[in-house]
């Protein structure tokens, strides 16, 4: 049996028990009694609030939601949510969540991680979770710095970053988390920003609905060790900072033309096979790239992800880069186990079958 050919659920939360008719939840139901201890002004507060107020919308039973985190500032997240949770060890949350999600189809599994946790010490687990496509949602808080250890550069810091550990500037080239996830053939990849609650919530809703591993990169400001890292793209006066992605829509941004609804800048195919930015007015409308998040080929999504600045962030695409259906590891693993178990049930109780198993092969009896 290699893969299991059966109709698998399409919704991420399809098998998770829901609230009874008439039962309601509020954000408060998801707040634990623990004092939140992030630094004043930390972007994590906004994400926590958004998640707490969004979770009731899922309509799932609270006891069937599990948050798992690794180590880092963001990884304190589970303590503040009144669900089941595990604050685990550095970088390993995706592997622990893989065990939880594979063991239980009736759980909604969430991973909260950061740029250091997910991309440095836990890089291996992240790419393999994405490759396997285990049904869980990974929230990657990217503040481009190590906060909990007090300010060393991270795997998403720009080259030349001056920090405590790199007094004359960091040397290593940063990861772009979206590009990395697409390279690992993730089935759902999105990016959002801590300061845009509406966008954040919409992306979370889509991520939760997706069956498989959803990776959501959340730009998140660290006011203590990397303040202002996202100022340029959060600047409302800077119309060209964000490239919003909407499935099925031509990708344009900047100053919006009232008549056409298009921004003054657009993405077009480049000669090299990627995408590049052009003035909307200068290109025929049919040349503008229409975003297809469901394209089985991740090349276009990858090309779009490369428009993110690797240095100081002046421009970044946001939204859902990719959302494709692919069988999940956990659904298939469970199908193998339940299929075999059901087929064997006719052969007797587990005790009887165990007796048969250990007495099989070449045996001999001494009276």
């Amino acid at each position: 049996m290699s893969t299991v050919d059966l109709p698998l659920p399409r919704l991420g939360t399809a098998l998770v028990p829901r609230l009874d008719e008439g039962e309601t939840q509020t954000g408060k139901d998801f707040s634990s009694d623990q004092e939140v201890r992030w630094c004043p002004g930390c972007g994590d507060y906004a994400v926590l609030k958004a998640v707490q107020s969004f979770l009731p919308d899922l309509g799932l039973r609270r006891e069937n939601i599990v948050f798992v985190s690794g180590i880092g500032c963001s990884s304190r997240f589970p303590y503040y949510l009144d669900t089941y949770g595990m604050h685990s060890i550095h970088g390993r949350a995706p592997s622990i969540a893989t065990g939880i999600a594979t063991a239980r189809e009736d759980l909604s599994v969430w991973v909260v991680t950061g740029d250091g946790d997910a991309l440095s010490i836990g890089g291996n687990h992240l790419i393999h979770a994405l490759r396997r496509n285990v049904n869980m949602t990974i929230l990657l808080f990217n503040n481009r710095i190590y906060g909990l250890t007090k300010g060393q550069y991270s795997p998403t810091s720009e080259v030349g970053k001056v920090t405590k550990s790199t007094p004359v500037g960091s040397l290593d080239h940063p990861f772009n988390p979206v590009s990395l996830a697409l390279g690992a053939e993730a089935s759902f990849v999105a990016r959002t920003i801590d300061s845009d609650r509406k966008h954040l919530t919409a992306v979370l809703a889509a991520a939760a609905a997706h069956r498989g591993t959803s990776l959501v990169e959340i730009y998140q400001n660290c006011p203590i060790f990397n303040d202002g890292a996202f100022d340029a793209i959060k600047d409302r006066d800077n119309a060209h900072a964000l490239i919003p992605l909407t499935h099925g829509q031509p990708i344009t941004f900047g100053v919006r033309d009232e008549e056409t609804g298009l921004g003054d800048q657009a993405l077009v195919r480049s000669a090299g096979g990627g995408v590049e930015v052009a003035d909307t007015a200068s290109v025929p409308v049919e040349r503008i790239v229409v975003h297809d998040a469901h394209d089985p080929d991740p090349s276009s999504a990858f090309a779009i992800s490369r428009l993110t600045d690797a240095g100081y962030l002046n421009r970044s695409p946001i939204g859902i880069f990719r959302q494709v259906e692919r069988p999940t590891y956990d659904d298939q693993a469970r199908a193998q186990v339940t299929g075999a178990s059901e087929a064997a049930a006719a052969q007797g109780s587990p005790e009887e079958r165990l007796t048969a198993l250990i007495n099989a092969g070449d045996t001999w009896t001494i009276d």
Binding site: N64, Y79, S88, I89, R92, G99, R104, L107, H128, G339
Partner: protein
């Protein structure tokens, strides 16, 4: 049987099959083992193979061997020195001849004794050309040169195989010949070949033809004049099968799942010599067993911890280097107090070390190899079949006490085999997961209202285990993690605590919880028939066989010695201190530089003496017996001569038990 052949009775024989890695020696040994098992002999086997899948052909590092000791009585070891060596090429002869006692029989395939192969093995001339001459380096052995390959190729001619494929059946010829020599039943092997080669008729035909040709060669030619008979051993009533340690361990885990009602979840990364457990468990999905081949060792244990949190029996399997990688996660399981079975099939170390050889040098790693005070219970099996019981016991402790548990097997137990009295499933312990189902801490809030809380660290007063509340249980939502929690008997709400007094109390509590496992252990069984021994030999793990054999030898020579073997290394059984203090001398044989002896000295202030070998091979019983004898002599102020014993030479063979 031919009338001219003589039949000689023996009480035990040790045979070693040796050849190139590609010669099929492991298969040959396995088949001979099955034949002997079905025949009813007691037996112990010792496979020994290189780490490389195909080491350079014809070289000494490429030699693979399989030793089987079989007897008409209860035996404990695979034997120190083979009575019979089957050598398929010059390298196999060169690599093994040093282990043979004088008088041993060497059956050698002359076909591969070419100039080139002799060179590769480091022979300047062909030792087979000098048999009986003054410079015969094999003088003192009974050498039987046979062109095994040539005769095999001739015997399988009718199947039209290439010469290379035809020659590959030579191991079956050797098996047939040895099966004749020792009167083994042939049916199991023919049935096995029919299963194995069901789809390739010519290969099947050739293998059966070679096997029969080997048998007939023994029976009809004048080369072999003696056939040996080793009667079935007297064993306790029951159903038996031959089993390796890794298979028994896998079955034990399946059994633990059945008896606890928990689905088993194995998160594992392939590593020698533990991979066979992953392979085996992946076949048992029908028992609710999930196996996840993880991206690395850490992910393997991570997924297992996740599964345990979700309410399954999390298991991870590996060898020493993998434990090094898993150490932080084991600490997490200690801190979160989740059930977890961690299996270390130990191999030669440090680092990559000797991947295919055995050692028991990871005991202190299991005891102390984590940051902080992170106590983990340790159990160890003592023989291949015992791996089954040990696995069930590890699961019992893990589930009952909500703790990771180490199971320390080793390469010898993993690949070695013995007849196993198949247990009755009804006799296995029932393990109660005892999931938490409701709140456990009623209190009143500031406004005087009754509040029913769930405290995830409110402990069982007897075992000190915390509740296991699995996701999906309404009202018991809680968070656990690696940070220190308030989880003492007085204050079990489980919130993060940096309070110094709480940490001190929690460190002591986690230690005390492991210590309390000793309350559930049966008293040790000390083998001291006379009650007059002054020397106690104590061991753990796979040294049980050699220690037992060595003690029998000392007793057979008329001296007293006591033996005790530990299943539990942490915590030690409660009566161990008293037992140790009853004896004048304590000897601790181990395949390391003295790890258990260090623990015993530290714990009980006894002058435990080590007997330590790290050859990557089991201890040799006869050598160990000499060391025990010397200590008995010292303790009793007399000269101890173990003398020569046994009904057939050589004299260092394992003794039968005194009846």
């Amino acid at each position: 049987m031919s009338q001219t052949k003589q039949v000689k009775q023996l009480d035990r024989v040790i045979i070693r099959f040796a050849g190139d890695s590609g010669d099929g020696m492991q298969l040959t040994g396995d088949r001979f083992t099955q034949e002997s098992a079905v025949f009813g002999n007691d037996l112990v086997t010792l496979p020994n193979f290189p780490a490389e899948i195909r080491a350079p052909q014809g070289t000494i590092p490429g030699v693979s061997s399989f030793q089987i000791h079989f007897a008409d009585h209860d035996i404990l070891t695979a034997g120190d020195r083979p009575d019979v060596l089957v050598a398929m090429n010059p390298a196999a002869l060169k690599a093994n001849v040093g282990d043979l006692p004088s008088g041993a029989t060497i059956i050698v395939d002359t076909h591969d004794f070419t100039k080139r192969n002799l060179d590769k093995a480091g022979y300047s001339s062909n030792p087979l050309d000098k048999l009986g001459e003054v410079d015969d380096i094999l003088a003192g052995f009974q050498v039987q040169p046979v062109d095994l390959t040539g005769i095999t190729v001739e015997a399988v001619k009718e199947f039209g195989l290439s010469r290379k494929d035809a020659a590959r059946a030579k191991n079956m010829f050797a098996l047939g010949l040895l099966s004749w020599m020792y009167g083994r039943p042939t049916e199991p092997t023919i049935a096995f070949l029919e299963r194995k080669f069901a789809k390739v008729a010519d290969i099947l035909g050739a293998n059966i033809a070679a096997f029969k040709a080997g048998w007939n060669y023994g029976e009809t030619t004048e080369t072999f004049v003696v056939q040996y008979e080793i009667k079935p051993a007297k064993m306790n009533a029951g159903t038996y099968r031959n089993i390796t340690g890794n298979l028994a361990l896998s079955y034990g885990l399946v059994a633990a799942g059945v008896r606890s009602g928990l689905p088993v979840f194995l998160g594992s990364y392939p590593i020698t010599p533990a991979s066979d457990i992953l392979h085996e468990l992946s076949k048992h999905k029908a028992f609710g067993v999930t196996t996840l081949q993880a991206e690395d060792e850490i992910a393997g244990i991570g997924a297992a911890i996740g599964a345990s949190f979700a309410g399954q029996l999390g298991v991870t399997t590996t060898s020493g280097p993998g434990i090094a990688l898993k150490s932080e996660a084991i600490g997490l399981a200690v801190m979160t107090e989740l059930p977890l079975v961690v299996i270390n099939v130990q191999r030669g170390g440090p680092s990559t070390g000797l991947p295919t050889k055995t050692e028991q040098a990871d005991l202190l790693q299991a005891m102390y190899g984590r940051n902080g005070e992170a106590p983990v219970p340790i159990v160890a099996p003592q023989s291949p079949g015992d791996c089954f019981t040990a696995a069930v016991e590890a699961a019992r402790i893990a589930i009952t006490y909500r703790t990771p548990v180490f199971l320390l097997s080793d390469g010898y137990l993993a690949n070695g085999s013995e007849p196993w009295a198949v247990p009755s499933v009804d006799d296995l312990p029932r393990i109660d997961p005892g999931f938490a189902t409701g709140t456990n801490h009623p209190s009143t809030d500031a406004k005087g209202n009754q509040v029913d809380d769930f405290w995830p660290y409110l402990r069982d007063e007897e075992t000190l285990a915390r509740p296991w509340a699995i996701p999906g249980t309404a009202g018991l939502e809680h968070r656990i993690g690696g940070l220190e929690k308030a989880g003492t008997l007085e204050d079990g709400h489980g919130n993060i605590s940096y309070d110094p007094a709480n940490h001190d109390a929690m460190v002591r509590l986690r230690q005390e919880k492991v210590q309390r496992i000793a309350d559930s252990l049966a008293p040790l069984e000390v083998d001291d028939a006379s009650g007059e021994a002054k020397v106690l030999v104590i061991g753990w793990g796979s040294t049980y066989g050699p220690i037992g054999a060595a003690c029998r030898r000392v007793r057979r020579a008329g001296h007293n010695v006591a033996q005790v073997h530990l299943r539990h290394l942490n915590p030690f059984p409660k009566d161990l201190g008293d037992i140790l203090r009853r004896y004048d001398k304590v000897l601790v044989p181990e395949m390391n530089l003295g790890q258990l002896s260090k623990m015993l000295r530290a714990e009980y202030l006894v002058d435990a003496q080590g007997y330590n070998h790290v050859y990557g091979l089991p201890l040799k019983a006869a050598e160990l017996a000499e060391a025990i004898g010397a200590l008995v002599g010292e303790a009793e102020g007399k000269h101890v001569d173990l003398g020569e014993h046994g009904t057939n030479p050589p004299s260092d063979h394992e003794e039968a038990p005194t009846s």
